[in-house]
Amino acid sequence: MRAHVAGDPAAFRALYEKYRDKVFATAFRILGDPDEAADLAQEVFVRIHGDLGRFRFQSAFSTWLFRVAVNHAINRANARERHGRIEEKIARTEGGTLRSPGGPGRRAFDEQVQRAVSGLSPKLRAVVALRYLEGLSYAEIAEVLEASIGTVKSRLFLAHETLRPELKVLEES
């Protein structure tokens, strides 16, 4: 990373290769759309490239990267939802549970989980993504979000409460 600060483009490419999956996955979990996640990942890496010279190495690079990605994703999700561009709604039966995935297919399962997560607020989606997709500890999530560990846990608790009816009918694959 310091090599990039010194102006080595190959070092930035290596940084991109190392973190692209994480940035894209986090963006996808929060935004729920692969095209938007790709746009956001591009935006984040361009931003990181521009700001890397100012990075002071006082925290882990991954923490800073996740912070930029999550903040961008939350802002984008909030803006999109303010403008009412979310047309996809969670499909419910009259009983209030998700419809049958129509088979044990991997893709159907993944899509149902994403639909359920998309029903959360962007802030709750971010905590779910960092915890269950990226496997960060509560302390690491707190650092990324610049919040207390208690706030992280209470957001996660609220996310689980909200997801209860949506995930009740799913079995892990």
Binding site: F24, Q42, F45, V46, G50, D110, V117, L133, H160, R164
Partner: protein, 145 residues
């Protein structure tokens, strides 16, 4: 331990980061509280689902998009625009000195819609392609007003 205290420690309980005393107190509470037993099982179930669900792969070509975004001209358009404008002024000045002709083209600086002539230009010089990223542009006299 009551239900509120159990809920506060439920994630640490799942992670196994509680003290042996806290674990024992929680187990005592669970033995008499079906609601907290259900809560614990629900969260464990959801965690298994959320950690096993996958996301789509990174689309091909993402690096090229990033690369395009960090190329020098995109990274600092104002700086490169001014460099292009400065080069245009220099060329205009040299050609003007050589020919001694009256200017038929001007180099103008456009800022927030307002324009300002910063050099004259001579006949016979081709008008460059319009590039709105540039801070300066070659425009016939009067057209920019």
């Amino acid at each position: 331990m009551n239900c509120g205290q159990f809920q506060e420690t439920v994630f640490d309980r799942i992670d196994g980061s509680l003290s042996s005393r806290e674990i024992r107190e929680g187990e005592d509470h669970l033995a008499s509280c079906p609601s907290c037993r259900e809560l614990l099982e629900t969260i464990r179930h959801q965690e298994r689902i959320l950690t096993s669900a996958e996301v789509p792969p990174v689309p091909p070509g993402l690096w090229h998009r990033v690369e395009a975004g960090i190329s020098p001209s995109r990274r600092n358009p104002a700086k490169w625009g001014w460099a292009a404008a400065a080069a245009a002024v220099l060329v205009a000045g040299l050609l003007f000195l050589r020919s001694g002709s009256a200017p038929e083209w001007e180099v103008v600086k456009i800022t927030n819609g307002a324009s300002e002539t910063i050099a004259g230009f001579i006949p016979g010089f081709e008008e460059p392609e319009t590039d709105h990223r540039l801070a300066g542009a070659l425009i016939p006299p009067g057209r920019n007003r």
